[in-house]
């Protein structure tokens, strides 16, 4: 969908778009929030420009930011995201536990985060093939399948 946009511009534009939508939400809120909305928009634009500059650097971060990552850099990104999600799950678990313990009203958003990350993990397992193991190719050979750890009785 973004193939027509230069790789280096993709992430900065994404940041600018998401930030603008968020700033618009503050403006839509009404009252004095429009000032915060303007400040937020300026910050987002500065961030987008910074991202564009960093996307031109000759390092892993620049390659990832500039949407030109190779297989190793994509793996790095994947591992980092997985680490981030693990931290998020631990933080959410701590949040929901603490919220329940102190009878706070804010415990349920943490539960939502836990549920969403857990569901996303199961969705990933299903999507990436765990549920499609198929049939063992030796099922019709007449041999008894056994674990490698089973001692040889011969």
């Amino acid at each position: 969908m973004t193939a027509f946009i230069r790789p280096r511009l993709r992430k900065p534009l994404r940041i600018a778009l998401a930030g603008t939508v968020f700033a618009a939400a503050w403006a839509f809120r009404g009252g004095g929030a429009w000032q915060l909305s303007v400040a937020m928009e300026v910050t987002v634009l500065v961030g987008a420009v910074t991202t564009y500059v960093r996307a031109g650097e000759d390092n892993d971060e620049g390659a990832l930011t500039g949407s030109r990552a190779d297989e190793r850099q994509k793996l790095l990104s994947l591992r980092s995201r997985a680490l981030g999600w693990n931290f998020a799950m631990v933080a959410a678990f701590i949040g929901v536990t603490a919220g329940v313990a102190v009878k706070a009203a804010w415990w349920w958003p943490f539960l939502v985060i836990l549920a969403v990350t857990g569901f996303a993990y199961l969705l990933g397992l299903s999507n990436y093939g765990v549920a499609e193991e198929g049939t063992a190719d030796d099922v019709d050979t007449g041999h008894q399948t056994r674990s490698r750890s089973t001692p040889d009785r011969a």
Binding site: D70, E71, R72
Partner: protein
Amino acid sequence: MMWTPGTRPDPGQLLTVPEIVVLEEGRGHLRASHADREQAIDVLKAAFAQGRLARDEFEARVGQAFAAQTHAELAVVTADLPARMTAGQPPRAPARIREQRTRREMSQGELAAVLGVSRQTVISIESGQYLPSLPLAFTIARFFGLTVDKMFGPGGEAGP
């Protein structure tokens, strides 16, 4: 037979990769990788096993190899030892890639451009920090005119 940096080696004398880099390319100032240090330490181990080095000397040189920052410093550590002692231990895949690349007088950036990966990935592969995917391994092997087994296999041996 021994080779001292700054002199010409005897005909037929085998040299380690760091020594080749120092001798043929005059690039002894280049920073050494983990793979380079491991190769030098393999030479030292073989020399120690054959009684060419006393334990004290062996331990001192291993320490020197670990501390070496450049190819020139590494070459000094193994300069008085024949590299052919490690003939039974083919170089590891990262060393093989580096060897093939230096033979073709290519920079890491040039190899990266040919392979369609980043320079950082070539550095990671050569330092043994990253094992390439099968498609990339095939691309690397084909580029150097070798099979994947010879390029990355434990018993592989880099060809000409």
